[in-house]
């Protein structure tokens, strides 16, 4: 039995289970008598469905059911609405939201869109039956590029949504920016692509559903990040039933990264089939289907403009973005390129004024929804790229101009033009510490050796600003068992991040009880009345604070019993180091003893019952917190081939109070690896007709361990936020936020002697090689001019 403290690098207790194959993932769940479902997906990016003939499939032995869009509508089921927090166009009107049904109705709008559900005795039978469904399509022109989709003659996805425009959003001070642009010594302009990527969690999506006619209730096991919100959508929007009628459980989830945050069509289809057939139904997506049907992220084209004076002072920042969000508004699809990407524009720099405009556009591709960072990596990339580019254009030192413009701690609290309330932090300190760790001066000799070998050395530093919190409420329940176990149920969710360890650690440390006694539960709508799941780096910020609050309530309740046991007054007791102590008599009793006493009728006072220490507590946050930090990267580039090798990586993060540095490190490393993947090798590519070219891991280049360098990671804990009691700031996405510009700017630094100042991501070896051949020739206004 071990005592743990807050801040201790407690090793992950779930890892033994995961690493020895004892994790219980969605495909490990099998219900008695289950049938198997497979989705028939559109092979066209845009087509009218003239007819669906499923008779061949239905005639096949073992096929139980085929559901089409027509059947779905006939049942009266509703569409799944977007829950974006940004709903207004800049002229005040409402965004355009087409109905998103679980199956295509009369028309398909992307390759991979569900057209029918087939249920059969086995998965192979269901898959074979797909070939026997005859869909008569009439192909229509498709558009997969968002800038092209805004053109007047572009194919139109929705008859009643002119110009394919979902939302036209703005934030900040447009006139102020224009004034600053007129006054500044320079306005530097660069069009940037933020390439479309997908998360590729190691466990594909899947679900198992059943229906109980006696109680008229559904049970849904689902590989998801957000059991409560998705249950609500299914119950209230799709089926029109009471939400208590669906119990939604996520077993161990093998990675989410935002991809499993969306309300997808397959789970309601599965529940419907289970009810219709009177037996459980299971559906598991394979990897190829995942590429087509998982939500993707990033995918923005932007013009970024920086007003800057000769001495390097930043005067204003303006960003105009066009982003394709797929053919429908997904769960928060319209939010990421608008509010999600606006808030942290300008990073930790002192920009007197900023303006952000963005249009979310319907295109004939699969859906876009949050992906780790959901807009903040994009914002940071835009800010840091234009700063680096301006430094190169004006012959300024990129490190110096950053240092010069960082917001000073004296300036805080400060509300930015993007409405973000930065309460605390010390950006210069974090910046200088990162530089000290990386020590670029020490690389001189190595850079020479690298050059002698025909390659080039590059280094860059990228401060970042984050904002985290996600859903604003969270629940934690604590229930004690007579056997000494403590059951902790939290509505936030781990999809691999290690809450089983960190939440238990927090509770054990606060109560002064052995860590091993805590049994952690999550992601079950029957176990917690509310829950915000996983998203927006909210685990510790919301879940952790809920646990801390619940611990406080337990201590409060326990102090009454402790007073009874010590024959003193609760008011005279102090709780420290896991024990209640009477300040007068000096007598003390430990929390463990108090818990034991709570199950012992001899020691319990008459007015208390066993279980009297149990509690359920809902925490509600105030404002979102503002994590920040700084990344630095060192690379070597082979100008003859364009190959890039990362040599070193340094990070200093301000996540406020660190509960478990080991787990925080894991978050940072994973995020950095995903950032490296995006900027170097990952890329979702469609051909002109809307077919996905990068539909397998043979073409979609995930980062590999041998391409990710060792990282030096430190935390600055000098500025815990007062926005929440624990003083924590979200840690889950920051790694992805800082790494995009750090790596790209380091590569460009390596190429400076060739005059290369810009390459759009991903920095494939061919693009790097061509940029060297072209000696930096590039068009800074080459991407979005036509759409402005």
């Amino acid at each position: 039995m071990t005592d743990v403290t807050i801040g201790q690098p407690v090793r992950r207790s779930e890892d033994e289970r995961f690493l020895t194959g004892r994790g219980r993932y969605i495909d490990d769940i099998n219900l008695e008598g289950q049938a198997r479902a497979v989705v028939l997906r559109s092979v066209y990016a845009h087509a009218r469905i003239k007819n669906i003939d499923a008779s061949g499939a239905l005639a096949m032995e073992g096929v139980l059911l085929v559901v089409t869009g027509e059947d779905w509508i006939a049942e009266g089921f509703g569409p799944m609405p977007t829950k974006t927090a940004i709903r207004k166009n800049r002229d005040g009107s409402e965004l355009s939201e087409p109905p998103r049904h679980c199956l295509a109705i009369g028309r398909v709008r992307y390759v991979g869109e569900p057209v029918a559900l087939v249920v059969a005795e086995t998965d192979p039978i269901a898959r074979d039956a797909l070939d026997l469904i005859d869909v008569d399509y009439e192909s229509l022109d498709a558009v997969t590029d968002a800038v092209e989709a805004l053109a007047p003659d572009a194919p139109q996805l929705w008859d009643d949504i002119p110009g394919n425009l979902c939302i036209d959003f703005e934030l900040g001070d447009r006139e102020g920016v224009e004034k600053a642009f007129a006054e500044a010594d320079h306005v530097i302009t660069l069009d940037l692509e933020n390439n479309r990527v997908t998360a590729v969690p190691i466990e594909p999506r899947g679900c198992v559903g059943s229906y109980d006619p006696e109680t008229d209730t559904y049970l849904l096991y689902n590989s998801t990040q957000n059991v409560h919100a998705i249950r609500d959508t299914l119950a209230e929007n799709v089926f029109g039933i009471d939400k208590e009628k669906i119990r939604h459980i996520a077993p161990d989830v093998g990675g989410g990264f935002g991809v499993k945050n969306s309300a997808y069509p397959e789970p309601p289809l599965v529940l419907y089939a289970a009810k219709k057939l009177g037996r459980p139904v299971k559906w598991i997506n394979n990897r190829s289907e995942s590429f087509l049907s998982d939500t993707h992220g990033r995918g923005q084209t932007s013009r970024v403009q920086l007003a800057i004076d000769n001495d390097g002072t930043f005067r204003a920042l303006r960003t105009e973005t066009v982003a394709g969000i797929g053919a429908y508004c997904w769960t928060i699809g319209p939010f990421t390129p608008t509010g999600g990407s606006a808030r942290t524009q300008g990073g930790p720099y002192d920009f007197p004024v900023m303006y952000y405009r963005s249009r979310a556009v319907f295109i004939n591709t699969g859906p876009m929804d949050p992906y780790r960072g959901a807009g903040r990596p994009e914002a940071t990339f835009q800010t840091e790229r234009i700063i680096e580019y301006a430094a190169r254009q004006l012959g300024l030192d990129p490190i110096e101009i950053r240092r010069k413009n960082l917001m000073r701690p004296e300036k805080l609290p400060h509300k930015t033009s993007m409405g973000l309330n930065i309460d605390c932090g010390d950006f210069p300190k974090v910046f200088e510490r990162t530089l000290k760790l990386a020590d670029p001066g020490s690389f001189a000799e190595r850079a020479e050796q690298i050059k002698t070998a025909g390659r080039r050395f590059g280094f860059a530093i990228a401060p970042y600003l984050e904002c985290t919190g996600g859903g604003p409420k969270e629940f934690a329940g604590v229930a004690f068992g007579a056997d000494g176990t403590v059951s902790l149920s939290v509505g936030s969710q781990s999809t691999g991040m290690g809450h089983e360890t960190s939440m238990a650690q927090l509770l054990a440390a606060r109560l002064g009880i052995p860590f091993e006694r805590v049994e952690y539960h999550q992601a079950d709508t029957d176990k917690t009345p509310i829950g915000g799941g996983h998203g927006g780096s909210r685990g510790m910020e919301l879940g952790g604070n809920a646990v801390a609050q619940a611990a406080g309530e337990v201590i409060e309740k326990a102090s009454g019993l402790a007073a009874h046991l010590l024959q003193s007054k609760a008011a005279d007791l102090t709780f420290e180091g896991g024990s209640f102590k009477d300040s007068g008599s000096g007598a003390s009793v430990s929390m463990v003893e108090v818990i034991e006493a709570s199950f012992d009728s001899e020691r319990l006072p008459d007015d208390l019952e066993p279980g009297c220490l149990d509690t359920g507590s809902t925490f509600e946050r105030g404002e979102i917190s503002i994590p920040n930090g700084c990344h630095a990267a060192a690379v070597e580039v082979d100008p003859k081939t364009g190959a890039i090798l990362l040599l070193g990586y340094w990070v200093v993060d301000d996540f406020g109070t660190i509960i478990n540095p080991l787990l925080a490190d894991g978050q940072v490393m994973g995020g950095v690896a995903q950032g490296i993947g995006q900027v170097l090798t990952e890329n979702i590519v469609f051909d002109d007709s809307g077919q996905l070219i990068t539909g397998s891991l043979m073409d979609y280049g995930l980062p590999r361990a041998d391409g990710v360098p060792d990282m030096v990671i430190e935390y600055y804990e000098g500025a815990p936020t007062k926005k929440n009691p624990l003083g924590v700031k979200g840690a889950g996405e920051a790694g992805c936020v800082g790494s995009l510009p750090a790596v790209v700017n380091a590569v460009l630094d390596a190429l400076k002697e060739f005059g290369v100042v810009h390459i759009d991501i991903p920095l494939t070896s061919e693009k790097v090689w061509r940029a060297v051949q072209d000696q930096g020739a590039h068009d800074p206004k080459g991407l979005i001019e036509g759409a402005l």
């Binding site: 081939t641 043979m698 070896s765 061919e766």
Partner: protein, 270 residues
């Protein structure tokens, strides 16, 4: 995936018989290519004849002049083999650079050659070293083995048993890998055997091919500098999202130079 019969013969003869007994049989080696193809329904053989139980197809033997590798020898085993490392270190290095550890532990020399993927590594070694592909019926010289994209000189049901590699005076392989799959985007194997230089290029064209101009230049002077000014035509090269034909043409030149440098360095070290 369609149902199929499964057999695991113990000898080459039994394998041939098993194949002939099937209406549409297929040999199974490491399964790294074949199994995904079956899963996608792109092939529906009536039966699989698993070669894993045939002792004679395993193993590595070396003489002064020839290195013989059994068809069922995995990439991992070739990479780690002291015999290969001594006789033709470039071949061990090539095998160690195929795909990833999982692929190397399953994939085999015979499977790779029979498949003749235009981006595979081994075909470059076989062609540059002028190896002989030995089958249950005959001996096929490398120059006549690779007949096109995923095409070989193998007849229906013909089984590769071994490959005989002449021990080279100098040899090296340089590969520029696809960032996702790690197959070759352009791979060049350079070898000097019995005084004659051969240069084989994989990954860049519709199938492995020899670079005659480079061979002629290196015959005169086996130095990377000798390749300078030799432009590879992009006309017959392939283009995809990872590399245009022009970039592949450029990479062939760079990889050839690096292979020559490595071949000369290998000798220096020995």
């Amino acid at each position: 995936m369609q149902d199929f019969e499964y057999q695991k013969p113990k000898t080459v003869t039994e394998a041939g018989d098993a194949f002939n007994a099937q209406s549409d049989g297929s040999f199974l080696a490491g399964g790294q290519t074949l199994i995904p193809v079956l899963k996608q329904g792109l092939a529906m053989p009536s039966g699989l004849i698993d070669l894993a139980g045939i002792e004679d197809l395993q193993g590595i033997t070396a003489t002064e002049s020839t290195l013989t590798v059994g068809a069922m020898t995995t990439h991992a085993r070739v990479a780690a083999s002291p015999e290969v490392q001594k006789a033709i270190p470039a071949l061990a290095g090539l095998a160690g650079g195929i795909g990833d550890p999982q692929v190397r532990n399953r994939g085999t020399l015979g499977g790779s050659l029979a498949n003749n993927d235009p981006s595979a590594d081994y075909p470059a070694a076989v062609l540059a070293l002028s190896a002989v592909v030995v089958t249950d019926k005959r001996r096929i010289p490398a120059d006549g083995f690779f007949t096109g994209m995923f095409e070989t000189a193998l007849d229906e049901g013909e089984l590769i048993t071994d490959v005989e590699f002449p021990v080279a005076e100098r040899a090296a392989y340089a590969k520029f890998p696809n960032p996702a799959s790690r197959y070759a985007v352009a791979g060049v194997f350079v070898a000097r055997v019995d005084g004659a230089v051969r240069v084989a290029v994989t990954g860049a064209g519709p199938g492995v091919f020899r670079a005659a101009e480079m061979e002629a230049a290196l015959d005169k002077d086996f130095q990377a500098d000798a390749l300078e000014g030799i432009a590879v035509s992009e006309a017959d090269l392939i283009a995809d999202i990872h590399a245009s034909a022009g970039y592949r043409a450029h990479l062939i030149g760079v990889m050839a130079g690096r292979a020559v440098d490595a071949a000369n360095a290998n000798v220096g070290a020995a």
